[in-house]
């Protein structure tokens, strides 16, 4: 069992159970990002680069603080800075660390056509196994949060692993380890809920009446959660979706269409087989040849009387 984790609860494009003898008996994990404590220092981006040995190309300033401007094969998490003007004219800087949400019901895994390219561990982490990735980009199509990116260099899909390698040996993710304000914390999902509840209570006492936890039910909850000052308007945070769900198109494509499609193909072929043995082939016989010859002679006689 060397190099096997034996705790895979879901495996992409696989119709039988993956090895899952080992459970997450100490509880599923979660990362809680308290955006109200975030100062936008990007230490989490640096820690992610450092731990994962990633170095994105040095780009250009695109007129705002987002740098790099988008997630990518070499940037698995980025800070997104939104300047929000309230109705009373006051300005608020809403900074959100963007990256994989590690959905309990992952759209990427549902969409992936390659066996074992995406797995979900018992602890809740959704991980890409790039050696099995074929580069089709279906995970991008399936993700409700627009997170996975296909690398332009190797045509493999990449995203935040929630530092599955660190978590597997009892460490917290690199971004959590480095966050200087304690805005990112990591633990069991249950503990993170409790911690979030305390933070929300504190925020409410400070005037943020709509403070709340972002753990969207439409994707079964997520293993990366946010504490938001404006939980009633998650879109303010650089387009965090209010009710993320796997698109019905993706559900149809990767749900009913698959078995029904194979059934339709098999049924069509079988219908042909039944017709052949039940009714049989349609053969041209001697009678047809004689009639045809007679007709041909008649027609030629008409043409050349």
């Amino acid at each position: 069992m060397a190099l096997q984790s034996l705790d895979i609860v879901r495996r992409s494009a696989t119709t039988t159970p993956a090895p899952q003898a080992r459970g997450a008996h100490s509880g599923q994990v979660a990362k809680l990002i308290d955006v109200t404590k975030c100062i936008g220092c990007k230490a989490c981006q640096v820690a992610c680069m450092e731990w994962n040995d990633l170095r994105d190309e040095v780009g250009h300033c695109s007129g705002h603080f987002d740098n790099p401007p988008d997630l990518g094969g070499q940037s698995w998490t980025i800070m997104k800075f939104a300047e929000h003007e309230h109705a009373d004219g006051s300005l608020e800087w809403l900074i959100r660390k963007d990256g994989c949400m590690h959905c309990a019901d992952p759209g990427c895994l549902k969409a992936c056509p390659s066996p074992g390219a995406i797995v979900q561990y018992a602890n809740g982490i959704v991980d890409f196994h790039e050696e099995n990735c074929i580069g089709c980009g279906y995970c991008v199509t399936g993700c409700p949060f627009d997170v996975p990116r296909i690398s332009k260099h190797d045509r493999k899909a990449y995203k935040c692993t929630l530092c599955s390698d660190r978590v597997a040996v009892g460490q917290e993710p690199a971004c959590v380890k480095t966050c200087p304000t304690g805005a990112i914390v990591f633990g069991s999902k249950e503990d993170m809920h409790e911690h979030a509840a305390e933070r929300i209570e504190d925020l409410k006492s400070r005037g943020y009446a709509n403070a709340g936890l972002y753990d969207p039910a439409g994707v079964g909850g997520t293993h990366v959660m946010y504490v938001l000052h404006h939980a009633d308007q998650p879109e303010l945070y650089s387009g965090l979706p209010k009710n993320p769900v796997i698109s019905p198109f993706v559900s149809l494509w990767k749900g009913a269409a698959k078995p029904l499609g194979l059934l339709a193909i098999a049924a069509t072929a079988f219908a042909g087989f039944l017709h052949y043995i039940g009714i049989g082939p349609n053969r041209t016989d001697e009678h047809d040849e004689r009639e045809a010859e007679r007709e041909a002679q008649r027609l030629r006689a008409e043409e050349h009387p």
Partner: protein, 214 residues
Amino acid sequence: MNREHDREIVRYRAPTRINHWIVAISFVLAALSGLALFHPALFPLASLFGGGPWTRILHPFIGVVMVVAFVLLAARMWRDNRIDARDRAWLRNVGDVIHNREENLPEVGRFNGGQKLLFWVLVTCVLVLLLSGLVIWRAYFSQWFPIGAIRLSAVAHALFGLILVCSIIVHIYAAIWVKGSLRAMTEGKVSYGWAWRHHRAWFREVVSARRRAD
């Protein structure tokens, strides 16, 4: 000319036959590689193309070859595939078709109602597969389209691919069912009797030299 040869009609000339088989071969390759990505049970088909990444790389290029060849073939065929009242009557009597009772059916021109229906189903499928395929061709085109269009295209590509595969199964079976048809597309010729039995109006036109054989 011997008498045997004399009693044959050219149904498809060599350029048409070659064109047809380029479409056929590229369809089979596109279908096998597409099915590999459609259902996990069929993913092993990817081995035929050198594995998953090669299947992903090759499938759209094979599809483009198929579309180009199909357009050329359809351009040769479309005039003979316009559906008229006689074809609708033929299609209404599909029971007689299935039971090989052709004597009960209206006379058929170069193509029968079923073949014409298939032709237009194929035209529709190929068009939808081309457009949706470009949208989900991640390496070159997907970045130009919004995510909603990509998701719709993914499901449309799968559904019309399935319709195409099922339609071609019907097409292949028809060639097995109606003896002498396959030879028309391999050697190009059919017997007088075959033409008289299955495509009598076309037979009359060709024999009386009102239209050239093709």
